[in-house]
Amino acid sequence: MVEVAENDIVQGHDLAIGYAKDDVLLSGINLTLKPGEIVAINGASGIGKTTLLRTFAGLLDPIKGQVNIFGKPKGNRGEIGYIPQRLGLIRHASVNHNVMLGAKAGHTSAWFPFSRVCKIHALEAIESVGLKHKLRTPIRKLSGGQQRRVAVARTLAQKPRLILADEFLAELDEETLNIVMQKVLTYVKENNAIMILVEHDFERAMQMADRLFTAVGDKLIEIGEGIVPPNSTIVG
């Protein structure tokens, strides 16, 4: 097995997460993700999946343990692409503006966020999710599915090394879903990025991910061969 350098991996070491010390949602998490790896997290609602993503995104400090994002506790600028469940798009701004925000994060410095390269990356990403004709449309005038595609485009334009996606395929019709899914998976595999996704749909999670975890009680259990997740609906 090939050893991977510490600043190429994403790692959670003995993590306990939650919003308060006396209200720990998940604990004892040990997770090491290597480049090119896709991990899905599954579990009942309210169990702490989103909290785990927020902890990896650096939005929340872990109650116990350490997070290591490419050698740093919170990662560098533009290394983390986060798609929240409610997308976090700017409703009054255009598709282009929203995607440019991602592109700027990924390709410029914080104190001089202007570069021609951003435009190219943004346009590419918008085209790849099939929204080129909506370039100047404000987000609030798009349908739910289209908004989701904008959020994905924002992350693709950013070219992050770690993608954190929270239910990012919800509300999409079958055809668009496959396109968007393929785009993201190809991106991850081609760029040796890492992806953590929260996915309710167990079968889709199996289809996309290399490894699958499920949250039960306050533990995160890796599902391997022979272990069937509780309350799952696998047929056959």
Binding site: R54, A57, G58, L59, G75, N76, R77, G78, E79, I80, G81, Y82, I83, P84, Q85, R86, L87, G88, L89, I90, R91, H92, A93, H97, L101, G102, K104, A105, G106, S109, A110, W111, P113, R140, K141, R154, Q158, P160, L164
Partner: protein, 309 residues
């Protein structure tokens, strides 16, 4: 464990809001009673007094205020000679003061309000910024006006400076409250991506809270216009100067005419606000109601408008 519903708790849950409001109302009446020392008779005498004042001094309004002034001689064509009147000159000057003060105030207050917003700035930045804004706000604009009349002399300059400072304090508070209302996912995504302060302030927060910011700025413009009448009294220019003049001579019918003009301008500004904000609304087509519905409660407007297809 199941919670046992008790009859008392049930009554409380069903009636808590009316009960809270009733308690507040009774409390307010009680405080009023203690403040006026039980002398309610004055209140019952008041309609008669206002009727006398209205019929003898206010009505009819004296529209000579829109006639051209005797000096300087009016050089406008006759149809436009109202443009030489004190009402026109005063209103225009007050509008100009209000406009300039709102624009400058808005530009100055936005960065401060970003610093003051608790969801994007740490506590050691936001609290000093809040205290700073509160300091500007705690002096009423008329006191600022007196201060600046002393500093730069009588005239519109003092008015502009006074109102700008007051606008910074007042608008800043409204703005940081709007910024704190920006939804979490937007900020989360921005933070995770690693945006800097500059990008987050102007790329994320500004467009996201645009609707609120615009409506507040227009409200502030209207507020400044109405207050322009007050600060005119201390000699800081505008329509207030003339109102003060006629108040001194007890010519209340002329003052009443000015008040009607101010009311009309306020309505026009309100219409403008509705129009501008309609560009930032979620519904794709906002129905534009006729202008006179502004004086009606919104529920009644909707009812009235529904009847006509």
């Amino acid at each position: 464990m199941e919670e046992k519903p008790t009859p008392l708790l049930d009554v409380w849950y069903q009636w808590r809001y009316p009960m809270i409001f009733l308690t507040l109302f009774v409390l307010a009446v009680g405080v009023t009673n203690s403040t006026i020392e039980g002398n309610w008779q004055k209140l019952f005498d008041s309609p008669r007094n206002i009727q006398t004042f209205f019929s003898e001094s206010l009505w009819p309004p004296d529209w000579s205020v829109v006639d051209p002034q005797a000096y300087p001689v009016c050089e406008k064509p006759e149809a436009f000679d109202f443009m030489c009147s004190t009402a026109w000159i005063g209103t225009l000057e007050t509008l100009k003061i209000a406009f300039v003060a709102t624009v400058f105030g808005m530009i100055i207050s936005y960065p401060i309000s970003i610093l003051a917003a608790e969801n994007i700035s740490p506590g050691w930045v936001s609290y000093p910024a809040r205290i700073f804004l509160a300091a500007f706000r705690s002096l009423p604009s008329i006191l600022w006006a007196i201060l600046f009349v002393i500093m730069v002399g009588l005239g519109p300059m003092a008015g502009i400076l006074a109102m700008t400072l007051y606008t910074v304090g007042y608008l800043g508070k409204l703005q940081y409250e709007a910024i704190e209302g920006v939804a979490k996912p937007q900020l989360d995504a921005s933070r995770a991506m690693g945006h800097g302060w500059l990008e987050r302030s102007f790329g994320v927060i500004l467009p996201e809270s645009a609707n609120n910011l615009i409506s507040q700025a227009i409200f502030m413009f209207e507020y400044n216009f109405r207050h322009g009448t007050v600060i005119g009294i201390v000699g800081a220019g505008g329509i207030g100067y003339y109102i003060n003049l006629y108040l001194k001579f007890l010519q209340y019918d002329k003052v009443f005419a000015y008040v009607i003009i101010i009311f009309i301008v306020v309505i026009v500004i309100d219409l403008l606000s509705k129009f501008v904000r309609s560009f930032f609304r979620d519904d794709k087509k906002m129905r534009k109601h006729p202008w006179w519905t502004i004086v009606l409660p919104s529920g009644l407007t909707i009812k009235l408008m529904k009847k006509k297809p």
